[in-house]
Symmetry: C2
């Protein structure tokens, strides 16, 4: 299975360590195409060795290949929102996960969208069971 | 002309007064379907009189009707990113505008996307000329 993981890069890297843990969990189910999203070296400046156009083309090619999309949506991000919109248009299965501790309410475009699955998680153990339910279900 | 204006709500309302000025500029060219995005009374909690599902259905119906989409992308927002992704999938003309003064780099999903027009503006006068160019051009 190919999994597209989406997390904030230029929107802010406060959750980078969490993304790494999520990517490690997802790797048990298949290949995570976007492993760099958890990289410690990646700052809010983004990937400096690639042009924005090259990043866009690569990520959209990965999204087209993905069997499932998992988006961590606790930190607001245009890129993650865009990827969810495109994934939906491509008919992909999308899971949005967020931590309830953050003070922000999840966007109505995600929380009110009947084609997405949105779940909040209290701990990594809780998240593990959410991911297992999502990734063990056939499309 | 029907115009869909997108700006951050639950991502943060720091730019609400700016959104009102942009909506006033856009109103010279047609009907702004999403006038509430500039509302002073709208907090990061969002519209409390509607369910998330009702907000989603209403906004997607407006997006489907729109002749042009203008998104202010200086404040990271999942909702705005999602709307841009959906607008692109629907074949809409999309203009993303942002203020260069903010420290964040624009997402590569927007800045590197060849189907969107992204422009940074230094002043309202500068923005007026960007909007005039975008909205006077035929599809």
């Amino acid at each position: 299975m190919k999994i597209y993981f989406a997390g904030s890069i230029r929107g802010g890297r406060d959750d980078a360590a969490l993304y790494r843990r999520i990517i490690a969990l997802l790797s048990k189910y298949g290949q995570v195409l976007t492993e760099h999203v958890g990289s410690e070296g990646l700052t809010p400046t983004g990937e400096e060795s690639l042009s924005d156009g090259d990043i866009y083309m690569r990520d959209m090619a990965w999204l087209a290949q993905a069997d499932a999309v998992v988006a961590e949506v606790s930190i607001p991000s245009h890129g993650v929102g865009y990827e969810i919109g495109q994934a939906e248009a491509l008919g992909k299965r999308v899971l949005c996960i967020h931590r309830p501790g953050t003070q922000r309410r999840l966007s109505a475009m995600l929380a009110g969208n009947p084609t997405l699955r949105c779940e909040s998680y209290e701990s990594i153990e809780h998240l593990e069971s959410i991911l297992a339910r999502f990734l063990h279900t056939s499309p």
